[in-house]
Symmetry: C2
Subunit: 577 residues, 2 copies
């Protein structure tokens, strides 16, 4: 491509609404243009990156045996009503009426449509397994769109859906997709991590998220450097401490802790480690019994330095639909407002669940259910009846790895892919069956597999940038190589060599842009460093006299002088490596 | 591709709602699947054709210097309000509100968005000309969606928009697109015709439609076999007859024509040619004068065998906003209901416009403004004052070509592309200006250029089918070659040769599908003839014994025996054309 036949539009300053680095750099590099809140035009420079991402995804999906199709953006409400998602999904689902007043959804995903295809097209076990995918425009009416392509409303997603005869088949299809995702993210040239994710009601280990590692990531990823254990924070199991509970050593003592309502403050006030404190979290569950509404109050106990993991709490039998208790409920059950709550001497009986760590503590500190007072020397069995024990907390760095092979570390990530074992979640509602060998209808076992195509761009930049701009991995860069001639319009020699090299590298299959705009070197260099092309070759009169060109990789501190005749081989080696 | 890794789903019968052949065959061949009225899932087989069409369009657009981008599907109403199209467009424009109640359009085209990009990105004449295009999902809420992909609601369109400094530049950009379209349609391998189209208010010759020729086409295309004149029926000029008006030879005679209200019936009743009759068409124009509403009544005269061209009528000065007169208005002005109207002795004065052909007639027949009576021997000047003369009718086959080089012929076509000189239609409303050399803001001159990507499929089939199914041109066929082994699962020799040939042709860059499903020959042949793959090679045990394979082109009546060793070269020659 010649720059004079392309559209390049860079900005010195990012617009004020761009909050994060990837958004700022994409706006400055002229990759995207805001059309409305969370809605962007992909400008020519940005679209090139999107197409490269799509092509890698497409090639690996095809290699994995998935079959491409294209499902509509505008989808009839009837299908969404069959699965209940028409009602369950809130305002994120963009709804529209046609001229006859019929309801439609603008697709955020396509489970309903693909399941409708499967139930009408797949009659026999002979047609299974099958995996359909498409790469298509999606819309989610986010409450607060932001961060450019990271949380947009209109975006491009690759979504695949596998159909199998049984659970074993589904798991195999899932593994094939998992492996394809690993290949895809490797080909992107991004540092990433696949982590086990919670898959809600279905249970099992049937869900993984793929995250691009970035300090600015929204999600906490848990992994074990000594093994291949990895999970997102919601799913990572916190083991019980390896040492068992010590015997009680101290007396239970009510101690004045005036104004110290937080564990941190109590520990400091008493001169004791935070790890000797226990915090009380009060939950409520509303239920109906013989038509009478009733509320159950639960007390969850966590060590003072630990955080509640709500996904884990919801898995405690009876807590599936918990909410946090109101202050009125707390006063009714504990006799005191929050700040000094504890398991000893509640006004009304509550159901206690202790986190695994708390269950192994002795001589700990907890609220005394009296404003301004805590107990020290509290002990299980003696002061508090042994209660239900469960994994209730987020893991922290240094925790034991659940696979027993080391300790956990935590890093930040940006979720860009998700593979999920759906089971019969959709096939049941939509009666998507096939006939087995005996001619008996059986529900299809499904999996779904998404990659946020446009989000990849933001994530890649969050991982790869410097103060000059973006640093694209070569496989998804808008161009692999930029040729910067010094004085293309002034020097015959420079123009001739630039044109020759452009032709040579292009013929060798490289994706090259020749900057023939006639801009000053400073402008040229700044533009291409901002845009993030990974390889740059400068063609200057002085170098040509010595038969030399200057190469500089986007991360290189200095340029390398390369003989004219060797440049093509040199670039080939750079791109291969 | 191996059929066992692809999705093939054919039907013996087309669904009842499929009215035309392309719709029926696409449904039967498993290319599309109906999701809702005018909304289709593109199944894997159909998507392959769409991608091939897209790629040809993309390659030629790029070659012509247009730059690809991608504009959003969901577009803010504000931009559409700037050009007035938010109000002007009827229910065809699909409108949607987001969670905050803000209005959006689901794009039917993108003039507003691209003009918004241009006005903010293009500041200087130095950035012009430029041509942006995208290939994107469109939605038009058609009143009566039908004919499968021919008149769908959701469809894929390539739309390009050129921006120029002046009219001469716009005309040059237009010509470049016109030439690109000719290359594109040639590459599709379809018989097509570019015809001049009316471009409404802008005038001039700045609009052409590209039609795929098909007997089933909705549009009438006018062309001159002796020259390169071509226009759609709306735009084709009807010249005045080459012979001038003969002198009056008959007396004006009121003749009883009881019950004969149509020209055909009158001519038959009187035993005279239909070409001696004149029909009367009454139009009304509503206007306001000093706040007072008033209606003007016009009488248009056409020869009995000719049809009114409403586009031409609207170009007669004063008739831009015409409507057909009501029966009450006709009785008020003519004293009689329709059926016996004419220009002689109207009750109230009306404005008469004669078609060029009528203006050259003498001794003609027209209504007498009295039920059951016509005049014969009517003549201009003597019986009717000479009136305004205009081209009011559709041309018919045999008319003189407007370029004076022969006579016109008419054929049917399906519109699949349109190039259009927009001028400042959008740049004016949206104030899209650039600074010229003198630093003065000037409105950009625009052109727009569409190709109905998904519609191409329907049009290609309407042109190329037989009683077995579709006959795709090789360039847009889902596969170029199908290999049909007889007993792939039974015969080692057949399997080995099929696999070898598959590898060889694939390596040679051909798009091959190997039917390894193990279906019976009859099923295999019927499937691929229905799907329309242009080249078929049969691998059978008997042939292999003689070192032969059987080739049959989709249009061939008989198979050709080809030696094994020559098949690759044979196929290469076939695909080369």
């Amino acid at each position: 491509m010649r720059a004079s036949r392309f559209f390049i539009s860079t900005l010195k300053e990012a617009p004020a609404d761009a909050e994060i680095i990837s958004h700022k750099l994409m706006m400055r590099a002229g990759m995207i243009k805001r059309l409305g809140s969370g809605i962007y035009t992909y400008m020519p420079m940005g679209l090139r990156v999107i197409r490269k991402v799509e092509n890698i995804v497409r090639e690996e999906m095809n290699r994995a045996g998935a079959i491409e199709m294209l499902m509509p953006v505008v989808q009839p409400a009837e299908l969404w009503q069959e699965t209940g998602r028409w009602d369950k999904m809130g305002p994120e689902l963009m709804r529209v009426k046609d001229r006859h007043g019929r309801d439609f959804a603008i697709q955020p995903t396509s489970e309903e449509v693909v399941t409708d295809v499967a139930r009408s097209e797949i009659k026999s076990y002979k047609k299974l397994p099958i995996n359909f995918y498409h790469i298509q425009t999606k819309f989610r009416d986010e409450r607060r769109p932001r961060f450019g392509l990271m949380r947009g409303r209109e975006f491009t997603m690759k979504d695949a859906y596998s159909f199998d005869r049984d659970v074993a088949g589904m798991q195999q299809s899932y593994q094939i997709m998992y492996d394809a995702y690993v290949r895809i993210f490797n080909r992107f040239g991004l540092q990433f991590r696949a982590v086990a994710a919670d898959n809600g009601a279905i249970g099992g280990s049937g869900s993984h998220e793929f995250h691009v590692i970035a300090d600015t990531g929204e999600d906490a990823l848990v992994y074990c450097p000594q093994s291949d254990y990895a999970a997102n924070i919601e799913a990572a199991e916190a083991l019980a401490p390896s040492t068992s509970r010590a015997a009680a050593g101290a007396e239970l003592t009510k101690t004045a802790t005036p104004g110290k309502s937080r564990c941190e403050d109590v520990a400091e006030f008493l001169g004791l480690p935070l790890t000797t404190t226990v915090k009380s979290i009060v939950l409520a569950v509303d239920a109906e019994n013989d038509g009478k509404k009733m509320t159950q109050i639960w007390l969850l106990l966590l060590r003072g330095d630990h955080d509640l993991n709500e996904v884990k709490a919801a898995k405690v039998p009876g807590l599936a639909n918990f909410r946090f208790a109101t202050e009125a409920e707390i006063i009714e059950y504990f006799g005191t407002p929050p700040g000094y709550l504890g398991p000893i001497g509640t006004r009304k009986p509550v159901t206690i669940v202790a986190d695994r760590t708390v269950a192994a503590m002795s001589d700990f500190i907890c609220g005394a259910n009296e404003a301004g007072y805590h107990y020290t020397g509290a002990n299980w069995g003696r002061d508090i009846p042994e209660s239900t024990v469960a994994d209730l907390r987020n893991v922290v760095a240094g925790d034991l790895s659940p696979d027993g092979k080391g300790t956990l570390a935590i890093q930040r990530g940006i979720e860009v892919g998700h593979v999920f074992q759906l089971g019969t979640r959709y096939s049941q509602d939509m009666n998507a069956t096939y006939l087995d060998e005996a001619g008996k209808p059986q529900l299809m076992q499904m999996g779904c597999y998404g990659i946020g195509v446009t989000r990849i761009l933001g994530a890649a930049i969050e991982q790869n940038f410097d103060d000059k701009g973006i640093i694209w991995p070569a496989s998804i860069a808008p161009f692999e190589v930029v040729l910067c001639p010094m004085g293309y319009d002034r020097s015959e020699a420079v123009k001739a060599e630039a044109d020759r090299l452009y032709q040579q590298l292009t013929d060798a299959g490289m994706d090259v842009i020749l900057d023939d705009r006639g801009e000053r070197p400073g402008v040229m260099f700044a533009d291409w460093e901002l845009i993030g092309v990974p390889h740059r070759v400068v063609i200057g009169e002085r170098g040509l006299k010595d038969g030399k060109l200057e190469y500089q990789g986007r991360r290189d501190v200095e340029a390398t002088s390369v003989p004219l005749a060797e440049m093509a081989e040199f670039m080939k080696a750079k791109l291969a490596g």
